[in-house]
């Protein structure tokens, strides 16, 4: 247990010192100009339009973060990626899905807790029932039987809770090994770890089990992201900036439970009449 706290402290220290290195140099985010101008034809309307994702791309410790990113890429190239590829090669998809499901099941208590903290009783009960059903009928979570009953998973963590509580934008932080994060999410990660009965010593105090689980989780996560990272590494011009942007957008979307402004909210299954909306098809 002492070891684990030590590791946490190191992670904390690394991230906070990284972020505070340039703290008084807080970069100002682009100010939202109203995107929906009447003149959709002009270039200015497009180029000055803000993204529907009005997140702050704040990265005051960018030089430090980029250095850690480089370090992470080396570790990823020589260790994480080869292990993940090997895992994918050896274990068939069916088996990997069982592992992913079982690991996800271990996070349900954290989702229950954070759904409560976010005053979201619906997801709290969904998650609780998912945990009960999948742990038993789903054979220790390896099968997601709850989904078949309409109890769909929606992961909540303390980083998201802080977001719901008002800490929407946070400085970007590149964590060693773990990768993209923010100050808010680093704090959240620590709280998730401490509040998860499977990792905090409540269920088992056996360090081999706990570190084993964390190790499998690392491999599982890396394997699940292989396609995405391959695509980004191949196509992006500045991979660091691309990962940063994608991470911040994804977290903003997670905090809003998938209801980002540009991701449709209030989806209806019937298409609205197009004629109900003003026309602006006179673009070049």
């Amino acid at each position: 247990m002492k070891n684990k706290i030590l590791i946490l402290l190191v992670v904390f220290f690394a991230s906070f010192s990284a972020a505070s290195a340039n703290e008084h140099h807080s970069s100002s985010p682009t100010q939202p100009a109203n995107a929906q101008t009447s003149d959709a034809t002009s270039d200015d309307a497009i180029t000055q339009a803000d993204s529907d994702y009005n997140y702050e791309n704040s990265d005051p410790a960018e030089p430090v973060n980029r250095a850690i990113f480089k370090f992470n890429n080396v570790i990823d190239g020589v260790l994480l990626k080869p292990v993940a590829r090997g895992y994918k090669y050896v274990v068939p998809q069916w088996g990997r899905a069982r592992v992913s499901n079982a690991l996800y099941n271990l996070t349900e208590p954290v989702t229950v807790l954070n759904s409560v903290l976010q005053a979201d009783p619906q997801n709290a009960f969904t998650s609780l029932w998912r945990f009960i059903l999948n742990s038993t009928f789903g054979l220790l979570g390896t099968f997601d039987v709850a989904s078949d009953f309409g109890l769909k998973p929606r992961q909540e963590d303390f980083g998201q809770t802080l977001g719901v509580w008002g800490w929407k934008d946070s400085d970007y932080v590149e964590l060693p090994i773990i990768g993209p994060s923010t100050l808010r999410d680093t704090l959240g990660l620590g709280v998730d770890y401490v509040s998860n009965p499977f990792y905090n010593g409540m269920v088992t105090d056996n360090d081999y089990v706990v570190y084993g689980l964390l190790g499998i989780r690392l491999v599982d996560t890396r394997a699940n992201y292989l396609e995405v990272t391959d695509q980004i590494d191949r196509t992006s011009l500045d991979t660091y900036a691309t990962y940063r942007s994608a991470y911040l957008q994804k977290r903003a979307n997670d905090i809003k439970n998938g209801q980002s402004r540009a991701v449709a909210n209030n989806f209806t299954n019937s298409s609205p009449q197009t004629s109900d909306y003003p026309h602006s098809n006179n673009r070049p």
Binding site: D238, K250, N253, A262, V263, T268, N269, H279, S280, N281
Partner: protein, 202 residues
């Protein structure tokens, strides 16, 4: 005789099934996306070789994507500061880059079921949500932002799990432009496209 009739019926059935895919539905955003999806799936599930498929998908992509809008958005305010020649140069480079990097993704497709799950107005545009089912995993939610263009629709953005393609590109491009200037950015776009064409995804 009956054989011929059967053949004839088959041809008719084929034409009927192909017809809706050919004419895009410009009145309803959901049907438009369904139409594009069917076009793409017809190519993906066909027996053509990979190169032919790629050419066909590229044609669909360039027809469907609002490259003009996406390119301008991705460069942001910098676009207005460029000379007309630079703007032209950039847009050509962007179009190549976008189709080269995006269309190649089709190789990852292996029979996943894609359903259009909903639509909602988004300002003047529409967001059409689709769900890509995966075996033993949660589906991936991909939202297409449809813009009205020339009496029909065009796709102005592709948002996967909350991550917008053009927003990510804007951050990516801005970072490169900060380091290398706009000409450096355009050159990097060209280099990346070239590099990508020479070493496409396995």
């Amino acid at each position: 005789m009956t054989k011929n009739i059967k053949k004839f019926a088959l041809v008719i059935a084929f034409i009927l099934s192909a017809a809706p895919a050919m004419a895009a539905d410009c009145s309803d955003p959901k049907n438009y996306v369904e139409g594009v999806k069917n076009d793409v799936l017809a190519v993906l599930n066909g027996n053509a070789d990979a190169a032919t498929k790629k050419t066909k998908l590229n044609a669909i992509f360039l027809n469907v994507a609002d490259v003009n809008f996406m390119g301008k958005f991705a460069l942001g305010r910098t676009y207005s500061q460029l000379t007309p020649a630079q703007q032209k140069d950039y847009m050509a480079a962007y179009s190549e880059y976008l189709s080269a990097s995006y269309v190649d993704k089709f190789k990852e497709y292996n029979g996943q079921n894609i359903t259009v799950t909903g639509v909602k107005p988004n300002g003047d545009d529409f967001s059409v949500e689709t769900s890509i089912e995966r075996e033993g995993k949660q589906p991936i939610i991909v939202t297409y932002r449809l813009r009205k263009a020339g009496g029909c629709f065009k796709v102005g953005d592709i948002i996967a799990e909350g991550v917008s393609l053009i927003t990510t590109e804007r951050q990516d491009f801005a970072s490169v432009a900060n380091q290398k200037g706009t000409d450096g950015l355009i050159q990097t776009l060209k280099d990346k496209t070239e590099q990508y064409k020479n070493a496409p995804a396995e």
